[in-house]
């Protein structure tokens, strides 16, 4: 098979899960102006919750196909239970304070959630590889891909479209956009900004947890999985522009394809390639590819 096609397919599949997670990160930043270091912890919680729920479905001898529903429910569960606790119980207290302080608060939250995960699930790994085999294999040239990888691509496209449509074509989405532009004016127009914050944070956390739940069948779910993904997600949203949904999509694609090309053509430069791309983008577009330059408020 043509190596260029292999690079594109690998890049696309890698970009798809990265996009789902990075979309949540960029949404939270766009609305709440919080660079959420704990985003990876919600990804891990999604993976653990999916492992538990899929295991429970299996013990109930339900059809393996229903494990996909279980994974979705796991992500919803994390968003409904954990996100409001964190946002209402902790982050709300620090709204309006220095952005650096909020970064430190989310870092503290990251450390807390790491330990919470260990207290609940322990340090032993969890496996839920059954969903990974649900879609068989797809042979393209010399390569045999797992069908599940392509499912991730479809899910990423659908999720991206739903979030875009929700923001741009629905009433609540327009309210969210109003808050993004100016929370003060939105509040003066009668918008319950606090509720929008909770909604946006919950949606962002749902996307992180969904990314974790969808990735869980491909990995051993164990302590430490939250770190790598958040670093990559930061790279994606910095390339695309903080708070931009098209930016997250293009950023994920760029990272995925750059990494894939490096692995195929120059493996020693794999990690370097991602940050090289980021550095080049920042040299010419310090605000990211899809972030418009903004006048500073005085």
């Amino acid at each position: 098979m043509n190596i260029a096609l292999t690079i594109m397919i690998d890049g696309l599949t890698y970009a798809s899960w990265l996009f789902i997670v990075a979309l949540g990160l960029t949404l939270v930043f766009g609305v709440l102006k919080i660079l959420n270091v704990a985003h990876g912890s919600f990804y891990a919680l999604g993976a653990y919750a999916a492992a538990s729920l899929v295991g429970w479905f299996a013990s109930m001898q339900l059809a393996p196909e229903l494990s996909l529903i279980a994974m979705l429910l796991a992500a919803v569960g994390v968003a409904v239970i954990v996100a409001p606790l964190c946002e209402r119980g902790l982050l709300r207290i620090f709204y309006g304070r220095d952005e650096v302080l909020l970064v430190l608060v989310t870092y503290a939250l990251f450390l807390i959630l790491e330990d919470v995960t260990k207290i609940i699930w322990g340090v032993n790994p969890f496996y839920l590889s059954e969903p990974y085999a649900l879609f068989g294999n797809v042979d393209i040239g010399k390569q045999s891909y797992v069908g599940y990888d392509f499912l991730l691509v479809i899910v990423a496209i659908v999720v991206g479209f739903i979030v875009w449509w929700g923001l741009n074509r629905t009433r609540i989405g327009k309210i969210v956009l109003a808050v993004i532009h100016s929370e003060e004016i939105a509040a003066s127009m009668g918008v319950n900004v606090s509720r929008i914050y909770t909604l946006a944070f919950g949606t962002g956390i749902f996307l992180a947890a969904l990314g974790g739940a969808l990735t869980a069948p491909m990995i051993s779910v164990q302590p430490g999985i939250s770190v790598g993904v958040v670093i990559l997600s930061f790279a994606v949203v910095i390339i695309g522009g903080l708070g931009s949904i098209p930016g997250a999509a293009i950023g994920a694609l760029i990272v995925g394809i750059a990494r894939s090309a490096a692995v195929h053509l120059m493996p020693v430069a794999e990690l370097f390639s991602i940050y090289l791309v980021m550095a080049v983008v920042l040299m010419f577009r310090p605000e990211g590819l899809f972030q418009r330059s903004q006048a500073r408020k005085i």
Binding site: V123, D149, P223
Partner: protein
């Protein structure tokens, strides 16, 4: 005035009582220090290495220390504690990076007043803490980390490693391929992008050049530690199919790679060789492909030689750990603690004053010593008696549905002197020179 004098007397009494209590407590602490042997045990209790290495190693330490303290271990380990001194472990998490470990090491010596530190899985951690312990003139045993550089690039008086370094794993793997007559024209590699992975791929490549001089390295994948996603690397390995695919991945990284590569057929297209993989057999179960050649960084677990000591160790570990059998990390911890016990007791015998021996006496006793461990004989033969050598073993995986576990077939053990360099040579020089002095029969 009277009230002031009364208050002064009361304060004076309190001072005398407090001083007496301090003296008593001090004396008791001093007596305890003489009757106890405090060991700082450092291993991953959190993070990605916890499940595969850190926690099993600590579980092994707990089993062994309890048996030592109760005097229930078999001879020659049947004296209570260390020569009658109660062993008091202090467990510390290795997670957090080399800088943190240096600080934790200092804390263990200076605040916890441990007599010895036994620890470290990470090669980077070992490279960082070894010079610190030496500078502080405190006793340190490295029980697991693999990089050969520790004693090949520096000399130590107070630092020891009671397990073989990574050269053994890769020399042994190539010897196994040769012994099993595996035809190899090309080989691929996938190793982590840090000291352990780099050392492993170098030793494997050099060994292949000696034993399979016609073979060529086709692909050299170096994913970062904790990558999790290996789809692209697997595509690349399958784009250039090789007769053999070598990997020193371990822990969660290895499990993720296997889970992603198996359904894509990598294990059917290439003979995969995993040099440090026995610890993933139990967690993966039937998801572990058949026919994979695996090593365990020693003759550990299912590949351990039959002996009364190994039977006892296996049984005690299983009893304490819900039937899970011990693999490389607990085995390596066990051989470290057994070597230390014998060295302390030997030093106590040599100590004419009696009682707890000095660090220098323990170091002298451990240097160049040999002892029987569950995995066979451990010899402190390299690094001027500070670096151990031991036998290696390899086998092929097969899932046994009746036993509901992965078993190993075609197990072959290699003598320590067959897969480790001699005392006067660095690993890579020894391999490049064609293994001079190797004793393989």
């Amino acid at each position: 005035m009277q009230q002031t004098i009364t208050t002064q007397r009361a304060l004076s009494k309190i001072s005398i009582i407090a001083a007496a209590m301090l003296f008593t407590l001090g004396a008791a602490a001093s007596a305890n220090a003489a009757d106890e042997f405090k060991i700082g045990i450092v291993s991953f209790l959190s993070g990605q290495a916890a499940d595969s290495f850190g926690v099993p190693a600590v579980n092994g330490a707990k089993v062994l220390i309890e048996a030592f303290n109760n005097g229930t271990a078999p001879a020659p380990y049947n004296k209570k504690g260390f020569g009658g001194m109660k062993i008091v472990p202090v467990y510390v998490d290795e997670n957090g990076g080399a800088t943190k470990q240096v600080q934790e090491l200092r804390n263990l010596y200076e605040r916890e007043n441990v007599d010895v530190v036994v620890g470290y899985v990470g090669s980077g951690d070992c490279l960082a803490v070894a010079p610190v312990a030496e500078e502080m003139k405190r006793f340190l045993i490295l029980y697991d980390c693999g990089t050969p550089r520790i004693f090949e690039e520096a000399n130590y008086k107070y630092v020891f490693r009671t397990a073989s370094h990574a050269a053994m794993d890769n020399v042994g793997a190539v010897r196994y391929l040769k012994a099993r007559n595996v035809k190899i024209e090309g080989f691929n590699m996938i190793n982590q992008d840090y000291a352990w992975g780099h050392d492993s791929l170098k030793d494997f490549t050099l060994s292949m050049q000696v034993l399979y001089p016609q073979s060529k390295a086709l692909s050299d994948q170096r994913p970062k530690f904790g990558a999790g996603q290996y789809g692209t690397e697997i595509s690349q390995l399958m784009s250039n199919p090789a007769d053999v695919t070598h990997s020193s991945l371990w822990g969660g990284d290895l499990q993720a790679m296997i889970l992603q590569a198996a359904p894509r057929g990598l294990f059917k297209k290439s003979q995969v060789v995993l040099t440090a993989a026995d610890h993933v057999l139990t967690p993966l179960g039937d998801k572990m492909p058949d026919g994979v050649i695996i090593g365990a960084r020693g003759a550990y677990g299912q590949m351990a030689p039959k002996s009364a000591l190994n039977d006892w160790w296996w049984s005690e570990y299983q009893k304490a750990n819900a039937g899970v059998y011990p693999v490389q990390a607990p085995y390596r911890m066990a051989q470290a603690l057994m070597g230390l016990k014998l060295a302390v007791e030997k030093a106590m015998t040599a100590n004419k004053k009696g009682g707890k021996p000095s660090i220098e006496q323990i170091a002298e006793a451990l240097r160049g010593s040999e002892w029987e461990a569950p995995a066979g004989r451990i010899k402190m033969a390299l690094g001027d008696g500070h670096q151990a050598i031991q036998a290696a073993a390899f086998g092929r995986t097969r899932y046994d549905a009746a036993k509901k576990m992965v078993v190993l077939d075609d197990i072959q053990r290699f003598a320590a002197e067959c897969v480790n360099p001699p005392a006067n040579m660095k690993s890579d020089e020894w391999i490049k020179a064609g293994f001079p002095g190797a004793k393989c029969n």
